[in-house]
């Protein structure tokens, strides 16, 4: 009974000009609600960042993660794409931390952030072609290493065709399981081989299956969502402690020969960066 009354009411309204006002009112309500929700989310993220900063000495919010302007990061790594319109760094936090390099604790500058970029999407509607922009976000952990890496090395998940062995590219290593899961790109093949010893290959297979690892200049970039999170920190900041742990695990697993090949000496530290 109530349903039929509602239908009658809608039919009445549909005939009237009030329908326009109802839709306009609904749109305004949806818009305001989404803005309030976004503001609430931003506030919660900033509170979580504040909580995280208080846990680590010297950590702070960063506009330029590890002293790198977004313009220097864009397009340089798979996790920092340029997109087609806007791009940038959000919710960056970090500071000095101890990473194990060739068996020695070394203080390095680290940063954790969300990289966003907007990609153009073309669609077709009754009124012709439509262009819209979709935002892509990536969780990124950056570490400023005490050495300079002369040639870029990128390790990322292998494509679906690559997994079947049809289009496998990049450097191939001894382990077929590793070659199936990861695509390794690097011009300096000797350095790639020195980096990816049997132990690191196994660590990547066990713990970094869907993640990206890249080395360029003095930066180590670990991208992708970690498998666990800190439930006491809300939204994406809850993933930052896990990314911090993963970065430590990754550095521990990198063989000493790789660091030696890059000219690292025990006791060598990275200069820490203070945000402007």
């Amino acid at each position: 009974m109530a349903g039929s009354e509602t239908l009658i009411a809608v039919a009445y309204l549909a005939r009237s000009e009030d329908l326009l006002w109802i839709f306009t009112g609904l749109a305004v309500v949806v818009f305001v609600a989404s803005r309030i929700h976004a503001a609430h989310r931003r506030r919660a993220i900033h509170q979580a960042i504040g909580k995280l900063v208080r846990r680590h000495d010297g950590w702070h919010r960063q506009a330029w993660p590890c002293g790198q302007q977004p313009d220097l990061l864009v397009g340089r790594f798979a996790a920092t794409p340029r997109g087609d319109r806007r791009y940038g760094v959000r919710y960056a936090v970090g500071g000095p931390t101890e990473l194990e390099i060739a068996g020695t604790a070394s203080v390095c500058e680290v940063a954790f952030l969300e990289w966003f970029s907007e990609a153009r999407r073309h669609g077709r509607s009754r009124r012709g072609h439509r262009t819209r922009y979709e935002e892509r976000t990536d969780l990124v952990a950056l570490a400023r290493l005490p050495v300079h890496i002369p040639r870029k090395i990128a390790i990322g998940p292998e494509s679906l065709l690559g997994r079947t062995g049809l289009t496998r590219g990049g450097a191939q290593l001894e382990s077929d399981a590793f070659n199936r899961r990861f695509r390794v790109e690097g011009e300096a093949r000797t350095l790639v081989v020195q980096l990816l010893d049997a132990n690191l290959q196994q660590v990547l297979l066990d713990a970094f299956g869907r993640r990206g690892v890249e080395f360029s200049d003095e930066l180590l970039v670990l991208s992708g969502k970690p498998t666990h999170r800190d439930p006491t920190l809300r939204h994406l900041v809850g993933s930052y402690p896990a990314m911090h742990q993963d970065l430590g695990q990754l550095c521990r697993a990198i063989p000493a020969q790789f660091w030696r090949a890059l000219g690292w000496r025990p006791g060598q530290q990275t200069p820490t960066t203070e945000d402007a």
Partner: protein
């Protein structure tokens, strides 16, 4: 398309595939030679470092004559095993003997604090470890090239090209990895 044209195209494709396969074998063989040349260059560098290392240790620990002579002899055997008429296995065993000798020598040096603080010795030890790192990397690259070559040499249909055109089996180069043993210990 006429069936005759299809048959002719198929017949023409066979020698083309054969040429393509042959050229890939040639490229792989060249790559194996290049990576082997890298190994030899690094082994040569290690051989060149040994006399200086022995002389430096002798200055502080001259009474460890037995170990010093053992290293010198192992180095002589390793240098003698470089020519092409020596099998890869014999060369690998000679290098292993040199690695063993150097491991003993470097273990002894830990009892001589003056030697450990000698800049020339530390520099030589660092150069030795870096050279051995490069030997290990070059060896892995060589073995990867050989593995890829052998995979093609044994797989169908490239095995037909390999057997018809005389591409022989290549041997892996397996030696002990000395860099980890010879790296200076770092206090945590």
């Amino acid at each position: 398309m006429e069936p005759l044209i299809i048959v002719l195209l198929a017949i023409a494709a066979v020698p083309l595939l054969g040429i393509f396969s042959y050229n890939r074998f040639i490229a792989q063989a060249a790559s194996i030679e290049a990576t082997w040349a890298n190994i030899e260059a690094e082994l040569q560098r290690r051989h060149d470092l040994v006399p200086n290392l022995v002389a430096t240790v002798e200055g502080y620990a001259s009474h460890e004559r037995g170990v010093l002579e053992q290293v010198t002899e192992a180095r002589t055997r390793a240098v003698a095993s470089v020519p092409t008429d020596v099998t890869m296995t014999d060369q690998a065993r000679a290098e292993d003997a040199l690695t063993q000798g150097l491991t003993t020598l470097l273990a002894i040096t830990e009892s001589y604090p003056d030697l450990q603080s000698d800049t020339a010795f530390r520099d030589l030890q660092r150069q030795l470890v870096e050279t051995e790192d490069r030997i290990a990397a070059a060896r892995r690259l060589y073995n990867l090239e050989v593995a890829a070559f052998e995979r093609r040499r044994q797989a169908v249909p490239s095995n037909l090209v390999a057997s018809a055109l005389g591409f022989d089996a290549r041997e892996m180069f397996e030696i002990r990895d000395p860099a980890a043993e010879h790296a200076p210990h770092v206090a945590p």
